[in-house]
Symmetry: C2
Subunit: 527 residues, 2 copies
């Protein structure tokens, strides 16, 4: 091969160098990995950027979100809906694709939860691949985050750190790992282990648009402290050792529905304790390849959707949705009168943001006769006409005839404007804004728990000591997936939101605020 | 597709069902995984078994082993030799392939050790793939073994177990994990974490010839005890959850040298604390595809080679080698007079087993002028003519002209006979046999340390309580990689081997005996 100027050198996994002939299409960025394909999204998006005339689409993002679930392990059917929806849209001649997060293999394998890859007629061709570790992406992120902890231990030995703040991770759930002591019998150092999907490195992979950005973000992660002053990983870690491990993990996987519709799977942060959305590059790549891109965000509208809108769109330049679908099961919405306020709240909230919002009721067997009543209630609530179907039983066929208004909204709406950033807003003010807008609790009923002010001050001090701009961090509300307030069953005028503590993820550019409803730590027990 | 009797249903990873057209060759069992290929070796070997007329080769196994290293982190160059050797053999028109173990990514990534994929002209096309986690095989084994521990914890909660004996694993080294306490502040349960390559599940993957066998072996693993009686995982775990995770990990990877020679990589048990050999199926598959199969066993002849011969061949039906190559660096062999006895001991030991054994001296830069002296010493010691070269600098070219005798021995020797099993031999008698044969220490200088008899008795009791036949377990000597005896520098007549403790790996069918030189636990510190 001659040294022509057209020869492109790319640097995939582990700094491998490859000679490449001139790129002509997405195909040049796709590799087969067993039954799925992996796509070098960083390379493809970079190619589009440096070749403005290269063909591409300008797909619109549709958010699939849901009612707040009654409990963490009970899904409303977002993935089933997402799969049925792209099958139905493609049946109508629209080039639609879906972007999903990778489910946590540990939890699936342990039997604590079913898979998260649809079901019945709304299924993927190889759901077990998605559910059981895909191509090792989660394992690579786990190894890289744990390696950071090992390097932090070495930094303690070397006198560069005296306290480690970054947690070890495990993809396999084990409640006894919530609180551990390492160096038993010697130092007996207290530590905690969290589930891999909840860690900062997973957030970094979700939010970054290049390996260099990942490297820069890992460098900014706070490893721990020395004499009370924050020390970042950039101060003592060879960053190529971390990015080397992540070489394949940064590539979205492509699979398809049983009807052949394209589905990209990438990134797996939990929605209640993290950011709950697939990687930004997987969505952007899908938008360059398809006209409509259905993005599934985790748990309810108060969790993943809030995070897509207020974190990804406001602070990380993700695309504001052209429409939203809010999934519910008939029983979630209506059978518990104390909680029946939540579903209409979510629908109205999204409509209030100028996002055309379509209620979708995912029926289970034996519920078909509820359709007239559900329609009547939706009308009373001044919803758009609800989309109703048994998606497990009927798949996309249940949806296709009901999508006229949805398709009209998505295809005829103009590309949405960019939302304004909340950067610089004081943290408590920002939480109050979220409480008011996403949970329906006015600012004066946001309560600071004893110790919160100290936790906030400590977080601000930690950032200041390492030259991190605390005001530039985006807010992540950490809460139970099943509640939006301290008590969702309380009358509206009495609902409160209480802030418990603050944790900085400076590499990801995030600051976590735990609400009182947050779990102690995201390390479930096998049940 | 019609329901013809010719359609074959196979059940690869995670119980996926695939329709397959009739199988015609190995190609039907190969899938691309990025830059490497993965081969369904279980499926291919099963196909050969049920199609006795299908074309296949009957390749001969050659063992590449080495002098005992001066320290654990200093390699003699076995992988470099293996790569150069297949390149040289293929240059001579012989269809040769190599089978390597997968290096421990944690240690490579941590910088505690270089990679283990050759170097210079004796390199793989994508060494970084092999060194940095391959296709997630090690990660999958880690997740599966840790999931077993989580299930054991659940069994404790359910009253089925009171003590857990199976350790958690980590691919990432961290010395502080050697001894940990989980449930800190509540139960404060003492535990240990070991490196993934050292765990029983890795041994099971290495020794099994089908997913059913893996499943049966996992079922026989001792999870822990209840009222002093052993409880196996088969008593309380859904085994499909474990085999589901291992779906892709059981498939050997195929890559190649920079000269295009085929290299299979599969399994990564350490040689000093485990069995140190690649998976049996990867070697058997390679033997069906090539005429000469070079198998690299870990560390010195006293470690991986001893284990290939005495465990894999004697007890697990692996092929007895048709020749062996014992690699040394000139400096290892001769620069330390106290340890210079070890290299000739290894060469003579293998010759004594009727294995044509070829000394190979892997020169470093500046050592070419030592060749005459090395040859003279080899002659004095009555070795076969040594093969000498700078393999990093010259690759296979350094070897090709020196291989006449080697090729003659391999191609003209008859297929070796099967060795007799040691099953039923008393454990201490078996260790004495190994000490005498593999370490040169006579039976009367094998010492039982205080506590050993109790440890042995406890292991026998544990097995008896679960109906496991202790006498059927194959012996794994657990020792330092750098020594064969309690003190290799002592005069021959004073060298001893001391037995410290016994540990049962009943799923793998192994019993470990720790010698005094064994490390406390295989969890290194990052250096």
């Amino acid at each position: 091969m001659c040294c022509s100027g057209h020869v492109r050198r790319s640097t995939p996994p582990g700094g491998r160098l490859q000679e490449r002939t001139p790129v002509t299409s997405i195909e040049d960025f796709i590799s087969q990995y067993g039954l799925v394909q992996k796509i070098d999204a960083f390379g493809y998006l970079d190619y589009l950027k440096s070749n403005p005339d290269a063909p591409r689409k300008h797909g619109k993002v549709v958010l699939v979100t849901a009612d707040t679930p009654l409990k963490a392990s009970r899904g409303e059917g977002k993935t089933t809906t997402t799969i049925a929806l792209i099958d139905a849209l493609r049946e109508r001649g629209i080039d639609a694709a879906a972007v999903l997060r990778q489910p946590s293999m540990g939890i699936t394998a342990a039997g604590s939860k079913g898979g998260a890859s649809g079901g019945g007629k709304a299924s993927l061709t190889h759901p077990e691949l998605i559910d059981w570790g895909l191509c090792g992406e989660m394992g690579a992120i786990e190894a890289a985050q744990n390696l950071l902890v090992s390097f932090a231990e070495k930094a303690v030995d070397d006198g560069k750190l005296d306290t480690i703040l970054v947690p070890r991770v495990s993809e396999v759930p084990s409640r006894s790992l919530r609180q551990i002591a390492v160096d038993r019998g010697k130092g007996d150092v207290a530590e905690r282990v969290v589930l891999t999907p909840t860690c900062e490195l997973m957030q970094i992979v979700v939010l970054s648009r290049s390996m260099d950005e990942i490297s820069e973000r890992v460098a900014k992660m706070v490893a721990g402290t020395k004499d009370g002053k924050a020390v970042t990983f950039g101060e003592f870690v060879d960053l190529w050792r971390i990015t080397g491990i992540l070489g394949d993990a940064v590539k979205p996987a492509k699979t398809e529905t049983v009807n052949g519709s394209p589905v990209y799977v990438h990134g797996g942060p939990f929605a209640n304790v993290s950011i709950g959305i697939p990687t930004l590059v997987s969505v952007e790549m899908a938008c360059a390849l398809h006209d409509v891109v259905i993005v599934e965000a985790g748990y309810g509208t108060d969790a993943g959707a809030q995070k897509w809108l207020d974190i990804a769109c406001r602070e990380y330049d993700a695309q504001w949705p052209s429409a939203a679908i809010v999934v519910t099961r008939a029983s979630t919405w209506r059978d518990d009168p104390d909680l029946a306020w939540r579903y209409p709240f979510h629908v109205q909230r999204l409509e209030g943001l100028d996002i055309p919002t379509f209620p979708l009721i995912n029926l289970w067997d034996g519920e078909d006769d509820q359709i007239p009543a559900l329609k009547a209630t939706a009308k009373e609530l001044e919803f758009r006409d609800p989309i109703i179907g048994n998606l497990y039983r009927d798949g996309g066929d249940a949806l296709a005839p009901q999508l006229d208004a949805f398709v009209d909204a998505v295809t005829n709406g103009s590309m949405p404007a960019e939302p304004h950033s909340h950067k610089g807003m004081a943290l408590v003010e920002n939480v109050r804004w979220v409480a008011e807008n996403a949970y329906g609790v006015p600012a004066d009923r946001v309560i600071l728990k004893d110790g919160f002010a100290e936790s906030l001050q400590a977080a601000e001090g930690l950032c200041a000591s390492a030259g991190i701009d605390f005001g530039s961090l985006a807010l992540v509300a950490v809460k139970s997936p099943a509640t939006m307030t301290d008590n969702d069953r309380a009358p509206e005028a009495e609902r409160t939101v209480t802030l418990k503590k603050v944790e900085v993820h400076s590499g990801a550019g995030l600051v976590h605020v735990n609400l009182t409803t947050s779990l102690t730590t995201p390390m479930p027990k096998i049940v």
